[in-house]
């Protein structure tokens, strides 16, 4: 098992910089997600860790050892692509054992390893089955087994669940995390799906346009997004942004949007006048007749226990998550009250979060 360190890592393709100056450490046994939209540099980062791509600059250390220019085969890392690629003419045991055969491991020892791997994945009963006869889930388990059987120092996974439908994906997320609990292998997982990252990872790196926007635990990233990009990328529906103009002083405990005074966590960073943004999560909004921010109900979407109500305000469209027992009429005027201790403030020009009592030194851990 291993710690992975990425130091000042950069990758350019001609004029295009895919990854710029990345720094992070993945501690031994961590499930680490690289999250971002397509083209953000997450896959390139993973491929450099794997040795499938050479960095333009920077270093990669595996357990303290510089492996930046080692070939992929010399890094003792297992790379899992879309999990379904199995050899159709081999049975399950042969598929799982294939990497050991390539290594030239003696047959008895290999057999033991295969059995142990199958036990961890709970597919011992399938060892002599043809892969073509397997269900989707079992095929996926076999593909994982093939990656695990070498006992690599780390697993690198590139959108392994991307091709699956939503329900099955959820099931596999649970299984991958359970498996991680059992073998505690360092795992680097690339995805554009916030749910996968949130539900499985211990730590998440959010990337955008080749840059790291934020590193943190799922809950930190959700509660204290470092930028508007992160706030918008995480959460469904994402964080609401109310645009306003104003200046901020350290020690202020309220902001003014037009004539409405809104209580916020104590501000710790001054801002001379300019465009600002108040960030509010949908579940931190309630309707209140006395609230100064007002709007008109545009639509309500029933979701069982809760409903998402969309309200048009002068600061833009706002979505609130409310109990579905509440009756809401399209077209009615409502006041929006915010849970003040969980509000976020952003600089509209840079998009970065402004420091407050509850939104402390967010940054690039």
């Amino acid at each position: 098992m291993a710690q992975i360190r990425v130091e000042n890592l950069r990758k350019s393709f001609d004029l295009f910089t895919a990854v710029q100056d990345s720094n992070f450490t993945i501690e031994d046994g961590t499930f680490f997600a690289l999250l971002g939209p397509s083209g953000c540099g997450k896959t390139t980062t993973l491929r450099m860790i794997a040795g499938l791509e050479l960095p333009t600059d920077g270093r990669i250390l595996l357990d303290g050892e510089d492996v930046t220019f080692r070939r992929a085969a010399e890094r003792d890392i297992a790379f899992v692509f879309q999990l379904f690629a199995l050899y159709p003419h081999m049975n399950v045991e042969q598929n799982i054992g294939f990497p050991l055969k390539c290594q030239g491991m003696p047959r008895r020892q290999a057999r033991e390893r295969i059995l142990e791997t199958a036990r961890l994945l709970r597919i011992e009963h399938l060892l002599s089955s043809k892969t073509s006869k397997l269900s989707g889930g079992d095929r996926q388990r076999v593909a994982l087994g093939r990656a695990m059987v070498r006992r690599p120092k780390a697993f690198l996974m590139d959108e392994p669940l991307g091709a699956l439908d939503a329900e099955f994906r959820q099931l596999m997320c649970g299984e991958l995390r359970d498996l991680h609990e059992r073998i505690s292998a360092t795992t680097v997982y690339v995805t554009h799906d916030q749910h996968e990252a949130m539900s499985m990872a211990d730590r998440i790196v959010v990337m955008n346009a080749g840059r790291i926007e934020q590193i943190g635990s799922p809950q930190e990233i959700y509660d204290r997004p470092a930028s508007m990009f992160v706030a918008d990328f995480i959460g469904s529906p994402p964080m609401n942004f109310l645009h306003f103009e104003g200046s901020l002083h350290a020690g202020d405990r309220a902001i003014k949007i037009r004539n409405a005074s809104i209580v916020v966590p104590e501000i710790q960073e001054a801002r001379a006048g300019g465009p600002l943004v108040l960030g509010v999560r949908p579940e931190h909004i309630q309707f209140s007749d006395t609230a100064p921010v007002r709007g008109r109900v545009f639509g309500a979407e029933y979701l069982g226990t809760t409903q998402i109500v969309t309200v048009d305000t002068e600061q833009g469209q706002v979505k609130a998550r409310l109990p579905s027992s509440m009756s809401v009429r399209v077209g009615e005027t409502v006041g929006l009250a915010f849970r003040s201790d969980s509000l976020a403030l952003f600089d509209a020009q840079t998009g970065s979060a402004i420091r407050t009592a509850s939104h402390g030194s967010v940054g690039h851990g």
């Binding site: 609990e181 949130m198 949908p282 979407e301 029933y302 979701l303 226990t305 399209v330």
Partner: protein, 346 residues
């Protein structure tokens, strides 16, 4: 049904078979004027076949289809007063957005004057927020805009019913969420009658006036989203709506005396399984895994070998391995065949 005088489309005991496969089985459904009915089911459930039976692209083996009170079972597709939106938008790439939208009205059979077409296209484009794109080539649009145009091409007409076959499924999640809300707004604004098929429960719950849950060609339950969610008729329907899925427990594992006779299993929605103090007796589960979603946590628990999921505040301190007491708030009772048993206990 008394409302059938108002019905736009009525299917009566319709069946359709393809070789050995019974695609639609004795299906009866009345869609009222101005309703947004969503047929929800997995692929192969018979949703698309039902749409095709209404359009006349398929003929039923048994039963009848009527549109606006007229039996059209034997009528050819072109004569039925219907507009169809497919999953894959198929626009004319060489035409502008305007001409794409005007196309259905320019059909020689319809002979709509050009001035009336202009008004209609303009109004539809405004409704769909694509009025500024009317001069664009269809190929110079984003995916979301193309799908708006495809929907618009149905909306320029004023048929008895719009049939839509998973029109949002090829779009990314964000765009889908946006268009869901738009489509519902447009439907209400126009008072349009829509039959929409999907496998996406969120689309069904958020847009439908009524949902029909369909499986293996059979309509299992028809009702408002709230009725279907709160009052499912069987285990399958109960499991079809709600994320995470409803929990099921064998009746034998519930230390509750007051269960209706014949209860084989109970269903507990995640929000109705509440974590209480562990010493309260009753059901005690062990926390297996905590899944973060940001606004809430999904807590996976084990109870007597059964995995259960409940919801918790993200800041509630819970750890894997911890024992917690569980309270069942609104259990649903099912018999051995999976049918819901009326709750006579309360």
């Amino acid at each position: 049904m008394g409302a059938s005088a108002m019905a736009s489309v009525v299917l009566r005991h319709v069946s359709k078979r393809f070789g050995p496969v019974e695609a639609v089985r004795d299906l009866s459904l009345a869609i009222n004027d101005g309703e947004f009915v969503v047929l929800l089911g997995p692929s192969g459930a018979g949703k698309t076949t039902t749409l095709r039976l209404i359009t006349g692209l398929e003929r039923p083996d048994a039963g009848s289809v009527s549109i606006n009170g007229r039996d059209v079972t034997r009528d050819p597709p072109g004569t039925r007063d219907i507009a169809f939106v497919f999953q894959q938008y198929s626009l004319y790439p060489h035409l502008t957005v305007y001409d794409n939208l005007a196309f259905p009205l320019r059909s020689p059979a319809r002979r709509v004057p050009e001035e009336a077409i202009r008004k209609r296209v303009q109004k539809t484009a405004e409704l769909l927020h694509i009025a500024s794109k009317l001069g664009n080539r269809a190929t110079r649009l984003s995916g979301g805009e193309m799908q708006r145009v495809a929907i618009g091409r149905a909306l320029v007409r004023d048929p008895s019913i719009y049939l839509m076959d998973e029109p949002l499924s090829s779009l990314d999640a964000k765009l889908r969420a946006e268009l869901r809300l738009e489509l519902k707004r447009i439907q209400v604004e126009l008072g349009a009658t829509i039959l929409y098929v999907t496998h996406d429960q969120v689309e069904a719950m958020t847009m439908a006036t009524r949902i029909g849950v369909i499986r293996d060609g059979e309509l299992l339950q028809l009702g408002t989203p709230r009725e279907i969610y709160e009052n499912p008729s069987d285990r399958y329907v109960a499991s079809r709506l709600g994320t995470p899925q409803i929990n099921f427990l064998p009746a034998g594992l519930i230390p509750e005396a007051a269960m209706p006779v014949g209860t084989d299993s109970i269903g507990i929605r995640t929000e109705h399984l509440q974590i209480a103090a562990a010493n309260g007796g009753g059901i005690v589960g062990r926390v297996h895994r905590i899944e973060h979603l940001g606004d809430q946590n999904h807590v996976h628990l084990e109870y007597q070998g059964q995995m259960l999921v409940t919801l918790a505040d993200p800041h509630q301190p819970l750890q894997a391995g911890q024992d917690v007491g569980l309270q069942l708030i609104h259990p649903l009772y099912f018999d051995a065949t999976g049918r819901r048993i009326a709750d006579t206990v309360h």
